[in-house]
Amino acid sequence: MRRPSINRRLSAGLSLVAAIGATILLVLVFIEYRLGIDTLAGDDASRFALAEVSDHVGLPLLLLTVPALLAGQFVIQRSFRALQESAEVIRDTPAVRGVRVDDGPMPEEVMPFVDAINGLLSRLDAAAREHEAFAADVAHQIRTPLAIMSLALEDTSPDTAALREEVSRMRRLVEQLLLLTQANAQAAVPSRMQTSTLADLATETASGFAPLALRLGRTIAFEDSGGSGTIACHREALSSALRNLLDNALRVTPEGSVITVGTGPGNRLFVRDGGHGLDPARLAAIVQRKGRADEEQRAEGARGAGLGLAIVARIMAAHGGRLETIPERRELAMVFPDRGEGMTPA
């Protein structure tokens, strides 16, 4: 397909104007001098007519159209020079943060475009900053078990039980990171949406989790609070999200207590634990990865506790929903949008 060009359009437009103008002028000339098709037959008459036409039609049109075309092209070239120069600057700029298109020399007409580009660049910067902070956070979290493990291995008779625990902690962390990258990729390219009922999703995930919970002295129950609907979702992602909530519940629920998974009211999946309930402000901080790992460790009593919840929040965002906490009921809930609205990923 041929790309539209302003220059070509201008030439075509002016040619059209000239053609229409010429026709009208010709008609006028013919009427004024009472010329007819028959008068053109004679030799003298035709010469006279041609002279008249070139004087009154050709010349004025040429005098008007050609300068207009030249002037137009000149203006276009001048106006776009700013864009061309800017393109060269951008091409030569290394891939660093903080790059913006200089809007100083830009003509008013392209400002909406320039503003949109600059807006996108600053959003990309923010995302890159978030990624860097996150990578630093992760490195920090992995370094701690690594340090413990290498110290323990220096020992002449290493405590294998403790080592195993650190290894499983690292394994979990790596699993979480993989899940997070997948959740993000999913949010970027929403693919493979399936329909599923929340009750099926809850019973399946809870069943899968039950053996682990029982082994650790907690039990799992399922509760249907009504209104559990069918949703369009990426089932495996939601199942992982729910498993993360169960993991979290396992951490805060004392031995011998029940963790309840439930659906409803409305399009909602919840996990009720035996902890103290999570404060909304604290949840917001965890989700935005604002607390440092050290602080988190003190607050949650376990490393990496918050990463799981951050992942749940991202997976929910990709489903147009959110993660919410109801501390007085000791519930964390995955809330989905009502059917028919907002099922497109955020």
Binding site: S168, R171, E175, L178, L179, Q182, Q186, R192, T203, A206, S207, G208, A210, P211, L214, T219, I220, A221, F222, E223, D224, H234, E236, A237, S240, V258
Partner: protein, 246 residues
Amino acid sequence: MFPKITARGFDSRVGGGHCSGMRVLIIEDNERLAGLVMAALARGGFACDRAGTLAEAGSALDVAEYDAVLLDLGLPDGDGLDWLRQRRRGGFAGPVLVLTARGALDDRVIGLNAGADDYLVKPAAIDEILARVRALMRRPGSRSSPVLSFGRLSFDTVARRATHDGVMLDLTRREADLLELLMRDAGKVVLRQRIETALYAFDDVVSPNAIDALVSRLRRRLQACSAGERIHTLRGLGYLLEEARE
């Protein structure tokens, strides 16, 4: 034709001596990882063969019968799942546990669709691998004998008789059916609904606590012969048969 025996592939059987006759094929190209898994399986009483490539795995399956196959996906001569799909189409029906370093969200589903019976993401704990292999062998249609065993419990699916440590359990027909269901999926949740459909006819009127009552009766039978195996109730979900704790 016998499989080509090379240094890398087809290691000799490990722990063949005290095994229960259960034979497992491990298809894994990482020698060290395969060695560790084989040693663990040998401790668990399994005889193991190893294939380092899909070609070797194919020849192994052609000459020997295996109770289970442990399959890694990224192998030097091809993709494990494609291979499995082909074998399944070719009529191979043995239980397959896929063990892989891939861990993308949909891989599990894709793996199960390709014909795997279970799916574990590396690094998996050795105990987990052992538990899954044992669970695979309890599946219906497994080559093993018609006697299910779990911990000290055994259930003869043909004679419909259960024993604990050799002591016969006195079970009604429904209790025996329930025990079989729980034992086939021992260590996992058996959903209430599944029990309902398996134990009662379509037009049977099942009162809400009929299953609860049945489970408590079975529980009492197990306690009567001081079995350590316990049936957990998971409210709203179902039941789980758990191995005796030491």
